[in-house]
């Protein structure tokens, strides 16, 4: 019973953090994740680069005996990245695999700004066109809210590397 209450409470919570990118149309871009999809937030993580990778893949890291990819969401989405004054945090996100065959699902690490917020739904916001994002298949939705734009990414497509043009990977050669 207690577990159900916790799940229901968590379900209505989201994690929001600013993108490490320049403003768009004068407004800050933020990313939004369901709290259920955030497995951990780490201050420090040893990242091992993988040669020949595209710039959005910072490398791999070990977390709880798993080898996870470390991703720059901003670079993956083609946003212009800005440097950060404080060291970034590492956010471990998970997705459940289709069919529920693997209960643990796929995981990945995102490098995120340290000012992470947990908010409760609903958040007052308005859907806007995602046309200004260069990789629409990686986006579930874009919204305008009081602090700028909220972007909800398609983490499954990102972690599975889907529809990543071969030419994009070959460009690293």
């Amino acid at each position: 019973m207690a577990k159900d209450v916790l799940a229901a409470t968590t379900y209505r919570r989201v994690i929001v953090f600013p993108a490490l990118s320049h403003r768009f149309k004068g407004k800050q871009v933020h990313f939004l994740f369901s709290a259920l999809k955030v497995a951990d937030i780490l201050q420090e993580l040893l990242v091992q680069p993988v040669p020949l990778s595209p710039p959005f893949l910072e490398g791999i890291a070990e977390w709880r005996d798993r080898i996870l990819p470390v991703i720059s969401l901003e670079q993956r989405l083609g946003l212009q990245v800005k440097s950060l004054r404080q060291p970034p945090r590492s956010m471990v996100v998970r997705i459940a695999e289709a069919g529920g065959g693997n209960a643990n699902g796929l995981h990945g690490v995102l490098r995120v700004a340290p000012n992470i917020q947990m908010l409760s739904l609903p958040i007052e916001c308005t859907p806007v066109s995602r046309g200004w994002m260069s990789h629409e298949h990686l986006i579930r939705g874009v919204y305008e809210w009081e602090k700028g734009f909220l972007v909800v990414v398609h983490m499954e497509n990102i972690l599975k590397g889907e529809k990543l043009a071969d030419s994009q990977m070959r460009a690293t050669l």
Binding site: V50, P51, L52, I60, E62, L159, K160, G161
Partner: protein, 145 residues
Amino acid sequence: MQRLVLFQVSGRRFGLDMALAKSIEATNVPQAKGADWRNRGTLVVDGEKVPIYDLAAIMGDTTFTHDARNRKVILVKVQGRYLALLVDRMDRPVEVDNDLVEPLPPIFRGPPRDCFPKVLRREDELILILSPEGLGRIAKHREGV
């Protein structure tokens, strides 16, 4: 169990299936000054001239300074063709449990997956395991450019 030879390139450790390594040769090939990974000389094996591929240059990092006396060439045979891989130094071979070797996460595609399809978890280190076959494809692709 798997047996791997471990080697270093640009200050980082990599692995290679020991069964693929035909021999390890000393070399006097100097460190690459730029991105030119070709023209590092040749080895003659069974009467065949085998070009030496500079792994540091292929991986895009020639800034690390290493002692030229430790440099070695690992001779591997892939699909009937020899490849000579120039590395900065050799470490000891290791025997590891199969469950410590995992595939590279699926988000990595193309060249990084071709070259490093597997990763070894060893103590506090993640060691990329080199596929000479994948590296050979990349070298061939670059030669064609």
